[in-house]
């Protein structure tokens, strides 16, 4: 074995990277074991292989991509709307304690109201189409991004603000050259949370009334006792959430290169 190959193996085992593989494989093996020997019928707990076969069916007939595309559209629009509004509102609250005192009760209430309870009202008010689903999604994303924006902007050191003031920087220059770079790490942290929650929002909206999307697919699976289909939809939702989270991490790495 060449010295470079040996060190790569050493890195793999010593670094504990093999544990990541085990952590993925072990739950699958446990699941397969429970499905085979647990005495549970397939309609209650299908095996991983049955789920894989069902996955192949819905992928081959195009319905999985169709429904995933629709949910992804809701998620992206909801994330854009929710995080956009939250960032603007968060900045305003961070700069104005009076505004924060006035709006805080309503903002906290927006988080306290269970989305699953308000989703039917949104469908009644705004109809069963895309808009109500985007609203549900935006609602669930709003609060974590808002809080992180407020915290991030308020964490800007006062001495740096004083320095910008001394240099006679305009408010726009202070925003662009101080507040945004300083608040970005915390803001992006909120966006990571928002990105994964946005998937929940889209599904809640689809549960209430939809004829497409992964949430709709879950309902169809339940209605036909096709539990393997329910698993396919859930695992696709998980993959979607991981993809969005990964996307935010990549954006974070790009925008925060200067930190390193």
């Amino acid at each position: 074995m060449t010295p470079s190959k040996k060190s790569r193996w050493q890195v793999f085992f010593k670094g504990g990277r093999w544990l990541a593989g085990i952590s993925l494989l072990l739950p699958l093996l446990i699941w397969q074991g429970v499905a085979l020997w647990g005495g549970q019928p397939a309609f209650l707990l299908p095996s991983p292989w049955q789920v894989v076969l069902r996955f192949g069916d819905v992928l081959a007939n195009g319905s999985l991509l169709y429904h995933t595309g629709f949910t992804l559209l809701e998620v992206l629009l909801g994330l854009a709307l929710g995080s956009g509004l939250a960032t603007v509102t968060g900045y305003a609250l961070a700069r104005s304690p009076l505004l924060e005192r006035l709006l805080s009760p309503y903002l906290v209430a927006s988080q306290a109201v269970p989305v699953v309870a308000i989703a039917p009202l949104l469908v009644i008010w705004f109809g069963p189409g895309l808009f109500s689903k985007v609203l549900v999604c935006a609602l669930i994303v709003f609060f974590p991004v808002l809080v992180n924006t407020v915290v991030g902007v308020r964490a800007v050191p006062q001495n740096l603000r004083d320095l910008m003031h001394t240099l006679r920087a305009s408010p726009f220059q202070v925003l662009r050259q101080l507040e945004i770079p300083a608040a970005l790490p915390v803001l992006l942290g909120g966006l990571r949370i928002g990105a994964t929650l946005s998937v929940i929002g889209a599904v809640v909206g689809e549960f209430v009334g939809a004829d497409r999307g992964l949430g709709f697919l879950v309902n169809v699976g339940r209605g036909r006792y096709d539990t393997a289909l329910v698993f396919v939809a859930i695992l696709t939702l998980v993959a979607l959430a991981l993809l969005l989270y990964g996307g935010v991490v990549l954006v974070e790495k790009r925008l925060l290169r200067w930190e390193k």
């Binding site: 549970q40 019928p41 397939a42 309609f43 209650l44 039917p120 469908v123 009644i124 109809g127 069963p128 189409g129 209430v208 009334g209 939809a210 004829d211 709709f216 309902n219 169809v220 339940r222 209605g223 036909r224 006792y225 096709d226």
Partner: protein, 330 residues
């Protein structure tokens, strides 16, 4: 130390065996059979439409049969899955759920036909001119979802008129049919004929209703069990069926009493408009009446299977003799 010992003794007393609850003064179970606890999922929130069950519980029919029944208001599909897994013995479910479940290997069986007519229909304002299934063509129609009894009943209506789903505009609106029609968002909505039309008329909205039961006999809500319970505990099934049937018959004979009993079990019923609620109960009772109470009609089962096959929800015919039974009726 003394204080600690006293506290310890008090805790032991508090955690000790509790005195048995006094037995109710109403009709009690026969002393020759052990009381069986039955959790019965009914598939919807507490509602006047479950009056026969409330009557059977209140008048002690279940208790006389050696059954202690508690109602479970979880989703219909969950109840069917639990019965299929033999985690529960009974559930209330619509006929199509039995066939869909059996197609996926759930060994459930329908043992009492509570609803003798399928309760699904389409309601529209009179100005829409929707009076027959053929009038649905080109209309914008709200539906709770593209699954369940509502969807299957709606497809039966379309089929009766030779229409396809693409001939109408379907919107999945959840259980917001009344609001959607009042707001003018939909031209028509798929509903339970015993509920939403009455709610709309109470709000001054004149309606026409197209009923599935007018075009095709399908299998409505009834009592289901599983094959294991049927084989190993047929007497239990018989007692449950006959006590439930007694509740249905008593409610049919005394609707006013059934309404009053239901007030104890349906939160808010006492405060609701009694005229509307009694109309809902009366409309429901029209669907329960039968020359042979509880009897499952083989033709209705064949029709249901036929619709499900046309919708491609079933790949082919099932053994219907296993799907339902009239053997437990009196």
């Amino acid at each position: 130390m003394k204080r600690f010992a006293l506290l310890f003794c008090l805790l032991l007393v508090a955690c000790g065996p509790q005195p048995a609850a006094p037995t109710p003064s109403r009709a009690t179970a026969s002393t020759t059979q052990a009381v069986v606890n039955i959790r019965l999922p009914v598939g919807y929130i507490p509602n006047i439409q479950f009056a026969p069950l409330y009557v059977a519980m209140e008048k002690g029919y279940y208790r006389q049969a050696g059954l202690e029944v508690t109602l479970d208001y979880s989703q219909e599909t969950d109840g069917v899955a639990l019965v299929g897994a033999n985690n529960l013995q009974f559930s209330v479910a619509s006929g199509e759920q039995v066939l869909l479940a059996r197609a996926q290997g759930l060994p459930v069986s329908y043992v009492l036909a509570w609803y003798q007519q399928f309760p699904v229909g389409v309601v529209a304002g009179t100005q829409q001119g929707i009076r027959t299934p053929a009038d649905l063509k080109g209309k914008q129609i709200g539906i709770p979802g593209l699954y369940g009894a509502s969807y299957i009943g709606f497809r039966a209506l379309l089929d009766a008129a030779g229409l396809k789903e693409s001939d109408v505009i379907l919107d999945s609106i959840g259980y917001n049919q009344v609001e959607a029609l009042l707001a003018g968002r939909e031209q028509a909505a798929v509903i339970y004929t015993t509920n939403e039309p009455i709610q709309l008329q109470a709000r001054g909205f004149a309606v026409d209703v197209v009923r599935v039961s007018d075009v095709l006999q399908l299998v409505g809500n009834g009592l289901i069990t599983n094959e294991t319970t049927q084989k190993e505990k047929p007497e239990l099934v018989r007692r449950m069926v006959q006590a439930t049937l007694q509740g249905i018959q008593t409610a049919l004979a005394n609707p006013a009493e059934a309404y009053e009993i239901s007030k104890k079990y349906v939160e808010g019923l006492a405060a609701d408009d009694p005229v509307v609620q009694k109309q809902i109960l009366a409309a429901s009772m029209d669907l329960w009446k039968a020359p042979k109470p509880g009897y499952s009609d083989p033709k209705a089962w064949e029709n249901m299977q036929g619709i499900l096959i046309k919708m491609q929800l079933l790949k082919g015919p099932l053994d219907l003799s296993q799907a339902y039974s009239n053997a437990f009726l009196p």
